[in-house]
Symmetry: C2
């Protein structure tokens, strides 16, 4: 089993502006991610569900035509196949994200 204290979990560079740590099982991938201010993913989609919770900071998330600003303690669920992306503002964002492991 894996236990993470999310306030102290060491992260590693995943790509420029995003630090992360991932745990992978047979079916699921759980990722803790810290995203720098003023970063953006203009949109993508994949054939599996994705969900998670905001731990720190504020992030704008869009899924298809719906757009929301999420704060700590907000959870999201992105259905399989739906076009989605995100944008950070002046502060960093930490979140815990879970998706299906593709086999």
């Amino acid at each position: 089993m894996t236990f993470w204290d999310l306030e102290k979990l060491p992260l590693e560079e995943f790509r420029p502006g995003i630090m992360s740590r991932a745990e992978m099982g047979d079916n699921l991938i759980m990722v803790c991610m810290k995203i720098d201010p003023d970063k953006e993913d203009r949109g993508h989609h994949h054939p599996y569900d994705q969900c998670g919770i905001i731990l720190e900071g504020q992030i704008e998330l869009f899924v298809e035509k719906e757009k929301r600003v999420l704060n700590p303690n907000d959870a999201y669920f992105i259905p399989a196949g739906e076009h989605h992306g995100w944008k950070t503002f002046e502060g960093p964002v930490r979140l815990l994200d879970i998706s299906l492991k593709q086999t």
Copy 2:
């Protein structure tokens, strides 16, 4: 898409002592759960991964021979097939749990 403000999310009785709200997609089930004090699941297992984060309160979780007390902001990952269970103490516990939807 589903957005939940986890501090205000209305829950419904799932079984005695456990209130919950679930979101189900093609692959994943995301559940917000509130468990009463002094409840216990003495152990079970299933052939898929399960993970989540503690939102409020303190819960003891065991997976196989490992046992831990988890607090808010602690995340867990239970690998597929491993025997696991939990116990609450004097206060209620809220958590966000994600598992594979079995098809």
